[in-house]
């Protein structure tokens, strides 16, 4: 059985994600093969909030080279979770 923390890997804290917070949207890096329902449940479980909607997208890992060797960072999945208006907000900045 996957625990919610296995699905939600870490929050993403950037200018853009901070801006989204004003729309009640919170951004996470999630497990690559997690689906929207799993993400919704995990977020509700961890933060005790109500999720209205989940947007997901697959992010391609960047191609990096080290001299003549090229490599590739792992692909990952980003999830933007929209909370219901009556839900409490997420304070996930502790322990970044």
């Amino acid at each position: 059985m996957l625990s919610p923390h296995d699905i939600i890997i870490k929050p993403i804290v950037t200018e853009k994600s901070m801006d989204d917070m004003s729309e009640n949207k919170y951004t996470f890096k999630v497990k690559k093969d997690a689906n929207k329902i799993q993400i919704k449940n995990a977020v509700e479980n961890i933060f005790g909030v109500k999720v209205e909607k989940v947007f997901t997208m697959n992010m391609n890992g960047k191609v990096k080279r080290m001299g003549k060797y090229t490599g590739r960072r792992a692909n990952w999945k980003k999830a933007i979770v929209k909370l219901t208006p009556d839900s409490k907000s997420i304070e996930f900045f502790e322990g970044i």
Partner: protein
């Protein structure tokens, strides 16, 4: 926000100031706005990281130092207002007792206007301010005038030179038979007995007559600027080309007419007498003023806080350095020239500052006690006087005077009146 005075000691107040959590938070936010450009955090462009993120990364304390600077002036001003403190120096932070989310508490100390306890300031005896010029005073003046109007007249043939006469001479100096540099001149006017030349030179010319050629034996003084000549015996060959006697005008009405607008010598003397009297009395009055103030200071009791003196000293030193700079001298050069150490100078300045401050304080206190006010007219007069002093157009100058400057002029009038008051009240 609250504040309380802890103690007062030697005119220095120690007080506790509290800044509420809310106000302090505002200060922190202000500090964040000021410093945000310096923080770089992944995911954010420089200067775009939110306060919260920065605080998490670097700890809440990052902004406290600047926040303190922001919070302090307001809190301080409010505190001195609340406690009716007349601060005269910059406050200094003694300790920060509490700083954090729930506000700020600090202890500061500041010098206050010292409490001046006036002693007796009316009883001082200025001495006699009236002055009656004596015959001698007038004669000295007259002689000066005579001297200024004297003429040089060539002496009669064969007349011998005496002290006070002017001799026109050619001379050449020889040391061991060899002419030396700078020892030669032609048509030189030398007033005998004036001491312009090396000692002995002029004396030996006394008794000579026009057309004489004499040899003058002198010894250069040990302390002579030309080193190779100092202390040396030399011979000067001197040709006396002319002897001129000073002809002093006769003291009569004619003289009076020449040197003044008066017709008779009596009138001139009378006028001189008046002038001397005025001058002397003015001088005596000035002395009396200084003495009266000094006496008042002497009798007053006060404790001037060290900070206040220190600030005054700093100010004087800065002014002094500036003055030197205007003349192109650096502080270091000044110390080398005058053989004075910085400590001595500071010591002197400190003493002066102490004197100046105590005088200021005492005079201010007297102004208060005696309720001396400056009227609008008096202020205007003072401004006009200032304008005249700097050769400025009075109307123009008046229009540029600001409220602050006006206050300054008013203070200056008050100060003058206070000093006059002191002198007036001492005569009785």
């Amino acid at each position: 926000m609250g504040s309380s005075v802890e103690k007062i000691e030697k005119s220095v107040v120690t007080m506790k100031i509290e800044v509420s959590a809310e106000d302090f938070k505002k200060a922190v936010t202000k500090a964040y706005q000021k410093n945000k450009g310096k923080f770089y955090i992944d995911g954010f462009r420089k200067g775009k990281a939110p306060q919260k993120i920065i605080e998490q990364r670097y700890g809440k304390e990052v902004f406290y130092e600047d926040a303190l600077d922001f919070a302090f002036p307001d809190a301080y001003l409010k505190a001195i207002e609340e406690n009716k403190i007349d601060a005269v120096s910059r406050p200094s932070m003694e300790s920060i007792d509490k700083i954090g989310e729930d506000g700020l508490e600090m202890t500061i100390s500041v010098a206050i206007m010292p409490e001046v306890e006036l002693g007796e300031y009316k009883g001082f005896d200025p001495g006699d301010l009236a002055y009656e010029p004596t015959e001698e005073d007038i004669n000295v003046e007259i002689e000066k005038m005579q001297d200024q109007n004297s003429r040089l007249v060539s002496a009669a043939e064969g007349e011998k030179a005496k002290s006070g006469d002017t001799a026109i001479i050619d001379f050449e100096g020889f040391k061991d038979g060899v002419a030396f540099e700078g020892g030669k001149a032609e048509d030189h006017s030398l007033v005998l007995g004036s001491g312009m030349f090396i000692p002995g030179f002029e004396d030996q010319l006394i008794g000579t007559a026009k057309g004489d050629e004499v040899e003058v034996n002198v010894t250069f003084p040990e302390e002579y600027q030309a080193e190779d000549l100092a202390g040396q015996d030399v011979v000067f060959k001197v040709a006396i080309k002319d002897i001129k006697t000073k002809e002093v005008p006769e003291l009569d009405d004619e003289f009076a007419k020449d040197v003044s607008e008066f017709d008779t010598l009596e009138e001139l003397k009378e006028d001189l007498k008046k002038k001397i009297k005025d001058d002397k009395e003015k001088e005596l009055l000035e002395i009396a003023k200084v003495k009266a103030v000094d006496a008042a200071v002497e009798n007053a009791k006060m404790e001037i806080p060290d900070q206040m003196i220190q600030e005054e000293v700093d100010k004087s030193l800065r002014d002094f350095e500036y003055q030197l700079k205007m003349q192109g001298i650096s502080m270091e050069d000044y110390f080398t020239y005058t053989n004075m150490s910085e400590e001595t100078l500071i010591g002197q300045v400190k003493e002066d500052s102490h004197k100046k401050l105590s005088r200021d304080l005492v005079l201010t206190k007297i102004t208060e006690t005696e309720v001396i006010e400056a009227s609008e007219d008096e202020i205007t007069a003072e401004i006009e006087e200032q304008a005249a002093m700097y050769n400025m157009d009075v109307e123009k100058f008046k229009s540029t005077v600001t409220e602050d400057q006006k206050k300054y002029f008013a203070d200056s009038v008050k100060r003058k009146k206070t000093i006059e008051f002191l002198v007036d009240n001492t005569k009785k």
